[in-house]
Symmetry: C3
Subunit: 468 residues, 3 copies
């Protein structure tokens, strides 16, 4: 028995299925280009063995623990650290068994697909995870994780990763990237410039962060001009460590294009003291445009990831901190929000701005029409909750007719769950093969075009869009 | 010739179709659990024969008469009573023939599926309803309705209803439920606590309703404390008559969590005189949280049915009153709206809050992410206009990947059209069988899991979620 | 080799495919009814040969040049005239070759379907357009365009157009329509009353337009009464030249129903001087209701096309003017917006109001429920970006269950790209055949009904709704 169906995610109708299979056969072995994600560069720098199965696969994956929480299992029992320091479960085997007992909750979810893929292809299981097999699973995974073949660099190579981008804050010293570079290891791990902590006046410690930002760069971050220079220096520093992109996770997609004088005055206000929500929002908005203008000079790709209401539960935020599965998408406007940015730089063919959404209603109404006309704008792939078979199908269904394929940028895995990376890319390649096969069998595309597109969607477009 | 295709609503591809058929075969005969609806308890209390076919099937069903109205047929001709008392059509046969002449309007709608199901399985027809067969239909239905086998209790048993919930206002004396209980009949008919008339300051006669509320309970509904006590007493009274849930039909999903002092002051304002829209809205919002807190004590499930713009046509509302098919869905926010409630009680695993929507854009963007993390929150099934094959498919497509199956609660028929209940559950069971079969054939689920889920979706989840 | 698959856009499952084919066989040769579009009446009045291939097929089609622009090709190189008069590309062959080199961008878009249809059926090509075949294509198309058989009237007849509606502004003298009428040619080309320039206070030259409006009609457009009379006269004039409809392209769907006194005061304000956005919006809103009231008298069908943010790029608008592919859909509300209009005239069965949307979220939430109950309201077909296979499928999927088929109005091609008209209608007929075949094979519709509906959707409903 196998956990995985060889034809999973392909169309059911036989002629479309066989074409999808043929298309996928040409992409399944292509190297992985992972231009946006959250793996820890320290793994590759130190190349130490991963800890126990629960610590690798359950505790850090908010897709997993949020689903368990939704059914009444406490974060404590899942080993999530409390802010008040009170004890939480630390026994990996106990956490693993609790997870196994509730594995049924993941039926119909992408997490299930990723995990079964990992279980079968990485750890060699051929019986499903269940309360009965939980110990057997735990033992074998633990045993393998202790071996040399399961260290981060070995997995990187086994996963056939051509290049992976991590994401670091503007104040990061990039020491792990430096260590990787010095190590002589051939794996390509690049950073991404994520300046939220020095761009968002509502970020914890914003003003102190600006002080540090000044120290790091030798720029006077007390002035607008010096602050912009500090960004330029950090961007250059990040570029030196492989960065080809910046990333911005704002609550909205708002942009602004103030005059230098207005911008300087706004900066003076947000620099000085805690400011109101309007100024904070305007400053973030202005900074997207500033970043885009810097991109025109240094070539970094600008990524915008808007629309998540972070830490929605005050109770959980107070008790356990950020990133605990309580980030909820909100309605997001792009048409008005991006106009200042697009009026400023949208017609620049040398610039690449990649926009993501957690509001699928924007695909056909706003994002495809915008990306389908502005040279600088491209659509990021289905993101987060929509990094899933049905999510990806809706993305293609709702964007292709207006934006085509060439205003999209291939796949992002956007994950910190390292072992799931091959599974995630595999899902994307299968869903795209299925979509292309459907177009061919419906007479909307020729077969030769579908084969060309399959490779482009799986590999080429990501490399090109992210300049990797 | 039959009106019904045995394989209706199943996938077309043969291997998925045969699996859907097999899954459905295990659920088709399961008893009906109907945890939310609007049948009249008087029917089961008195067990009188239903009146003529038009009065049973056409006049009270706003799905039917709104479609006829949309094509220019007046409400008068359909026998809908006028507020000014002027005569309307009362000849059941005439109304029936008008309906039959226009039966084509229902092509492609769920009403057509439900009616054909009723015609074939309940009344034994094997030719379609049409102008030519209208009289024959009318005669046979009228004849059968006059028999003992077609009385409410006999139909209840024939429909294999395990339990059905009706909905009564907070001021209802539940006399029909009491009569049913005393009658010795075994059919399980439970009530649901629907306090809109004493919770919504904009409800007709709100202040007088509060007086009555006080009289009924012996509580001082002139004070906030007494008012809350009155709710507690009525909830207990409803529970005694089988209620396991309350239900709230607000225009928005707004919730609030005021301090007791603020809440008391707000109550004093809304109690005293006609208040502005903001206070009315805030009071409704606060009361959802109060109801949830009472649920923590008494175990009633909290249902929220927001987002309908009731009585959209002033002309029809003035001429014919409420519930005349002119209720139109509106854009509904949940992420900000539910936050006060979820901050207050969302992490309570002992509490069940079931949220519905008429805004399908909320499924993937808001509701699945919320239900996929908060232990207290569950998703009600596709509601009202979306209680339909395509509506249900979109519900599963848009919620499963994020919320899974176990944060949903099975099917609600939500109907006052008693004869349609088996048809509605049949549609839901078929659509779910089809969805599960698709997942299996696409390699996303094992067959044994699909069989387990089929029964859960058709029967178990509703019982469990509603504590029936 | 053929460019077109005979079974394109049909379901893949064989039994549904064969039924779709059979349904389509009954509609493919039906004459084209084109009740809303933007072809130039001058073509049919003068009946001159079309210019070169690029000027016919590329330069005027904003679907095409916006996609090329999105990939960094400048409007100049595509021959789009600049406002500053600086030279742009005028060599048709160069533009054509640029287009051919980038034809791959259209993979998966409706433009590709329309063009391949045109290439094969109108120009007889059997090899795909590519850089290699660009010259061959150009030569053959140029050669054919120079012949008598490819003049506008000959094409009109070859396309089997029963009637086509053009769209003219309220100040148009309709000279081309008059010339067509006098010419003795049998082709039926009717106009449509589009009064945006005298209804929208923010339209360029609004006040001067009102002066001209007065001169044209002999009415005193200095007064509200005279202004309304001017509309009545122009509507009568347009009706005399075949118009059966008016059309309104507002930014929102707002309507109002002011008292005559309020309306007169508002008119006095907007007539006198540049007014604020609120008054401008209210005036447009009021005018939709006024137009509907006039429709009750003169029988013109009222079309509302809301929700496009015109000329989104300030840069392109400044450089190249209107209609350059930078029109972006926005979120559009209908439930509150249409209420004043519907309260005023929504229950009139003699009135037809056809509403379109660029916000697909409104289909199931707002538009289908509204059209499914108000006798005056009908749903226009999938519009603009959604005039596409997947767009049409979503339209049917999201509207049919609530509004049925008979509250929809058949197909609109809405195009100025004359050669694409047969292709566009062909796509709609195929998608509808596929949708109906699916319903039949899923047991939701009988075959005889599907055949009846196929003809209605392809031909009858448009004629009836538009009174053609």
């Amino acid at each position: 028995m196998a956990l995985l169906d060889d034809d999973r995610l392909f169309p059911l109708e036989p002629s479309a299925r066989s074409l999808a299979r043929a298309l996928y056969a040409t992409t399944r072995a292509l190297p992985i280009v992972s231009p946006h994600g959250h793996t820890d560069p320290r793994w590759f720098a130190e190349d130490r063995n991963f800890p126990d199965p629960a610590q690798l696969l359950v505790v850090p994956d908010h897709y997993i623990f949020r689903m368990l929480v939704s059914q009444g299992i406490s974060l404590d029992r899942l080993g999530i650290a409390r802010r008040d320091g009170k004890p939480v479960e630390t026994d990996g085997r106990k956490i693993w068994k609790l997870f196994a007992e509730n594995y049924r909750l993941f039926r119909g979810t992408p997490t299930r697909l990723w995990l079964d893929h990992t279980f079968e292809t990485l750890f060699g299981f051929d019986v499903p995870l269940s309360p009965e097999t939980a110990d057997m699973y735990y033992d074998r995974i633990a045993e393998l994780l202790a071996t040399e073949a399961y260290r981060p660099r070995a997995l990187f190579e086994r996963f056939n990763i051509e290049v992976i981008a991590t994401t670091e804050g503007a104040l990061d010293d990039l020491k792990w990237h430096r260590k990787i570079a010095k190590s002589g290891w051939k794996g390509r791990v690049v950073t991404t410039y994520r300046p939220d902590s020095v761009v968002d006046p509502e970020f914890e410690g914003f003003r102190e962060n600006l002080d540090t930002f000044g120290e790091l760069t030798g720029c006077d971050t007390g002035t607008w001009r010096g602050y912009l220079d500090a960004h330029r220096k950090r961007r250059a520093f990040f570029k030196k460590h492989g960065a080809t992109a910046s990333d911005h996770g704002h609550a909205t997609a708002d942009t602004a294009n103030l005059s230098p004088k207005e911008a300087a005055a706004l900066f003076a206000r947000v620099r000085r003291k805690k400011v109101g929500a309007d100024d904070a929002r305007l400053f973030r908005a202005q900074m997207l445009t500033e970043m885009a203008k810097m991109s025109l000079d240094d070539g970094l790709v600008l990524q915008i990831h808007p629309g998540s209401w972070r830490n929605h539960s005050s109770v959980v935020h107070a008790g356990y901190g950020r990133d605990k599965g309580f980030d909820i998408p909100t309605r997001t406007d792009y048409v008005a929000a991006l106009k200042p940015l697009l009026d400023a730089v949208g017609m620049e063919p040398a610039l690449t701005i990649i926009v993501f959404t957690l509001d699928e209603t924007a695909y056909s109404r706003e994002l495809a029409p915008l990306a389908g006309v502005y040279p600088a704008l491209k659509l990021g792939p289905a993101w987060w909750f929509f990094d899933s078979p049905a999510g990806m199908r809706r993305f293609r269904d709702l964007t292709t007719e207006t934006a085509g394929f060439y205003n999209t940028v291939g796949f992002n895995d956007d994950t910190r769950a390292f072992p799931s990376i091959p599974a995630r890319h595999d899902v994307a390649r299968r869903v795209d093969a299925a979509f292309l096969a459907g177009l061919v069998r419906e007479g909307q595309l020729r077969e030769d075009e579908a084969f060309e597109l399959a490779t482009e969607l799986a590999h080429t477009l990501a490399k090109k869009a992210y300049r990797l």
